[in-house]
């Protein structure tokens, strides 16, 4: 493969804000990197850490979780739970040696098409610089992290 490297990002977009922001970005014909592949969830709170790990394991170079701004959650405070869960996940991924830029949590309200597009562009750019994730090489073969990652730990506030 001689062509230039293009990262693939899996996006979990909340149905009420970010998914609509992405719709709006399209309707407004805002041009941004086509590197994000979106999965719709009802709330960013639905994003189970195992989804993120699954995506990384299956070949994604990065994962973006996008929800409503804190205080604006359609389900009162689902995004706050996402945020807490995300911080724990981030911590674990760092221990596995995965760069922070690879998994990002962003807020975009339904009117912020342009904000979301910018975030996607920025993330794509960051991942281009980082290069492919190569989960298998990095985590599976590194020995120490594999068990932890495969076991899908419970990342919950007890």
């Amino acid at each position: 493969m001689s062509e230039k490297y293009e990262p693939v990002i899996v996006g979990f977009l909340c149905n009420w804000c970010s998914y609509r922001a992405a719709d709006l970005a399209g309707t407004a014909r805002i041009q941004y990197a086509p590197n994000l592949r979106a999965i719709r969830v009802m709330c960013s709170g639905r994003v189970d850490p195992q989804f993120v790990l699954k995506a990384l394991r299956d070949g994604a170079d990065g994962v973006m979780i996008a929800g409503c701004h804190p205080g604006e959650c359609h389900y009162v405070n689902g995004n706050i739970k996402t945020m807490r869960r995300f911080m724990l996940l981030q911590k674990m991924l760092t221990q596995l040696g995965i760069e922070e830029e690879r998994v990002q949590l962003v807020w975009a309200s339904a009117s912020e098409g342009i904000v979301l597009a910018e975030k996607i562009d920025q993330m794509t750019e960051a991942l281009r610089t980082l290069g492919p994730l190569n989960w298998k090489k990095r985590v599976l073969n590194s020995g120490n992290g594999y068990q932890a990652a495969e076991a899908i730990p419970v990342l919950e506030e007890a």
Binding site: E6, V8, V10, W16, C17, Y19, R20, A22, D23, L24, A25, G26, T27, R29, I30, Q31, Y32, A33, P34, N35, R37, A38, I39, R40, V41, M42, C43, G45, R46, V47, D48, P49, Q50, F51, K54, A55, D58, G59, A60, G71, E72, C73, H74, Y75, V76, N77, G78, K81, R85, S109, A110, S111, A117, N134, W135, K136, V154, E156, A158
Partner: protein, 674 residues
């Protein structure tokens, strides 16, 4: 098109790839996507078509379900927010449960955001494959019927809210109208004339206010505010604080003797915009609805110093209507729908110091001028300077104060051109020999009879200066400027800076979102935009609905609007609500969580996760249970369950994990066998 039989397929999936005219096909190679989709596991049939949402496109799906025995359908076209319902219905007509359908967004998320055909086509394939892998795990579901409580809450008693309330009440439904001021009427009650017909604002508004006050189907709660909103479409529980009036509404006849006898006057910043005074026990204006006065506790000498009670002494009713002991009441109201018509604020002109408001006394705001020119206002309709007697011989009107300005509000406030023209006309009418200078950037008069009104003003001899006013000063340079306000502006049509000396300046400030609109939007769980205006569901096709079912918006809370537009929206919102009420029940998405009681370990982690307290814990059995009626389907508990025994219908772990796998079909490190 491609058809293939996979003998080992679990399901028989039909994939439909839409061209959307050229909207998608211009960038995405839809034929290739369809051809490729035909080769994916479980796919029975795959087609591309010009317009999938057309009746012919839908028939294609119906036909294939019937003829090819499809058990699942994927449609790759626009956003599900656009046509998911259309295709679900098509599946249903074909005899397939609508939830065995999945939609792939290759327009808004793909063809419209890039010109890179190759990348867009790969992305489309990935998204389609994600949907195919997901839809295989879909289960048939039934929509959940919800009964609609026929009562409606209307928040805000301006012209939009009044219209909504009357429309519904006249249709035979009960309405609770909550207004935070002592009277309904809103901004319209403050106006003198309404453009372009110049009919008297009070003359057309007060009959409607009276209707509201007397209507059997309307419970009017003025001097009240909504404190809490619980529940969902069909069944909301609203907590309202009814502030103490210190006047017993049951006994009070509204005779007004208490107001007459109250010895204390204070400046009325709200209704009179600071131009006039009112008593401490007051009605904002004579035609107020309801007629009962309110005691302004902060300024009441009795409340502050313990002496006076003039109102109580002179109250003629038996028993006495004045009640100094009255306390705030907290009411609970059950309604099925909510209409928000909370109106607007005027831009604070002090934010633009170069216009001199507050420093140069004869600079007025639009609302001050409205009150001044109102026959029932503080100057009995006479146009005079701050000294209350001098008639201005020259008046300048300044458009776009705080609007069309990136330093304040970017948007055009829409109504200011017209009301500025109205002001010019009123000055001409009351002071025929006055010179009037109207400084505008662009004259925006779209509306029935609006441009004609502008023409009329041109005929009346208003001096129109095309230019945004740069500053207003009293620093004179030549004798003609001495003692005047000097309006400094470029007359852009001649390309010269002009200094126009005048006696009076009227600023036309922008309409802006109500202070605290963000908090209001959070209270009602709906969105407001960057400027603080509430967001409609669709800017063109659904202007009075919001993203939240059961909550509608009307009037200037959605964006700057004049009276006719606010009235239209008020009526439109009411029609929406009436439609739902007459239907009786609505069908809700069956996206709900449920717990496998046999597998639940009773760890209770999910119990605190639920924002709706829909999960209860059974101590004896040591298991948790989701109350379906309360669950809203966010899925937070599903993600949190350490034993994965909570299922989120239509968003199950199987479905989402398969979608992740599918979406990354080309990325998996170990090549999957096709």
């Amino acid at each position: 098109m491609s058809e293939k039989k996979h003998p080992d397929n679990k399901e028989r999936v039909g994939v439909y790839v839409c061209h959307c005219g050229t909207n998608i096909s211009k960038v995405v190679d839809v034929e290739e996507v369809a051809r490729w989709a035909g080769e994916q596991p479980n796919v029975e049939v795959s087609r591309d078509y010009k317009f999938m949402c057309s009746s012919l496109g839908q028939e294609l799906i119906e036909q294939d379900i019937k003829e090819k025995g499809l058990t699942r359908v994927v449609c790759a076209s626009c956003s599900p927010h656009m046509h998911e319902k259309t295709f679900r219905t098509a599946c249903e007509r074909g005899g397939l449960n609508p939830f065995l359908f999945e939609m792939t967004n290759i327009r808004e998320h793909d063809s419209w955001i890039t010109d890179d055909k190759e990348a867009a086509t790969i992305k489309a394939k990935s998204l389609v494959r994600g949907s195919i892998d997901r839809v295989v795990h879909h289960e048939p579901l039934d929509q959940i019927p919800v009964e609609i409580n026929p009562n409606t809450l209307v928040v805000g008693g301006g012209i939009a809210g009044i219209t909504s309330a009357l429309e519904l009440a006249d249709a035979g439904y009960h309405v609770y109208l909550v207004e935070r001021e002592p009277s309904i009427g809103g901004h319209m009650a403050q106006l003198d004339k309404t453009f372009p017909t110049l009919d008297c604002s009070a003359c057309i508004l007060t009959p409607k206010m009276v209707d509201v006050g007397q209507h059997d189907n309307i419970t009017l709660l003025t001097w009240s505010e909504v404190e809490q909103v619980d529940g969902f479409l069909g069944n909301f529980t609203i907590t309202v604080r009814k502030k103490a009036r210190y006047v017993n509404e049951e006994h009070c006849t509204g005779c007004g003797i208490c107001i007459e006898k109250c010895p204390f006057n204070v400046v009325d910043d709200i209704f009179e915009a600071g131009m006039g005074t009112r008593k401490v026990i007051y009605r904002p204006f004579p035609q107020a609805v309801p007629k009962y006065p309110v005691i302004d506790k902060e300024n009441c000498v009795y409340f502050q110093k313990g002496k006076c009670k003039a109102c109580e002494i002179f109250c003629p009713t038996e028993p006495n209507s004045i009640d100094f002991e009255q306390e705030d009441e907290i009411l609970q109201i059950e309604v099925g729908n909510i209409i928000l018509a909370t109106g607007y604020d005027l831009f604070d002109v002090k934010r633009i110091p170069q216009y001199g408001y507050g420093k140069l006394e004869n600079v007025f705001t639009s609302l001050e001028f409205e009150r001044m020119v109102n026959a029932a206002g503080p100057t009995d309709g006479k146009i005079v300077l701050r000294d209350q007697e001098t008639k201005p011989k020259s008046v300048a009107i300044v458009h776009c104060v705080g609007s069309r300005d990136e330093n304040y509000h970017k948007y055009c406030s829409k109504v200011c051109c017209m009301y500025s023209l109205k002001f010019a006309h009123l000055v001409h009418e009351r002071i025929p020999d006055a010179e009037i200078y109207d400084c505008y950037i662009d004259m925006r008069t779209p509306g029935k009879g609006y441009e004609e009104f502008y023409n009329r003003l041109l005929e009346e001899g208003t001096h129109f200066i095309r230019g945004k006013v740069a500053e207003i000063t009293d620093a004179a340079r030549i004798p003609e400027e001495e003692g005047k306000l000097i309006v400094q502006v470029e007359d852009t049509l001649i390309g010269r800076q002009r200094r126009v000396p005048v006696d009076m300046v009227i600023l036309s400030p922008a309409m802006e979102a109500r202070e605290g609109s963000k908090e209001v939007s959070q209270l009602f769980k709906m969105g407001c935009d960057f400027d603080g205006f509430f967001i409609e569901r669709h800017p063109k096709l659904d202007p009075v609905a919001t993203m939240t079912d059961g909550i509608l918006i009307a009037g200037a809370c959605q964006g700057p609007k004049d009276v006719p537009e606010s009235v239209s929206q008020g009526a439109a919102a009411a029609a929406r609500v009436a439609g739902l009420i007459s239907r009786g029940t609505v069908m809700m998405e069956p996206v709900r969580a449920s717990i496998d009681q046999d597998a639940c370990s009773g760890c209770r982690i999910c119990n605190n996760m639920c924002p709706y307290n829909a999960i209860i814990f059974h101590e004896e059995e040591n298991v948790s249970e989701v109350i379906t009626a309360l669950c809203q389907g966010c899925g937070t508990c599903v993600a949190a369950c350490p034993s994965s025994v909570i299922t989120g219908a239509h968003f199950t772990n199987d479905q989402l994990l398969s979608q992740i796998e599918g979406i990354l079909w080309d990325m998996r490190p170990e090549k999957v066998t096709a």
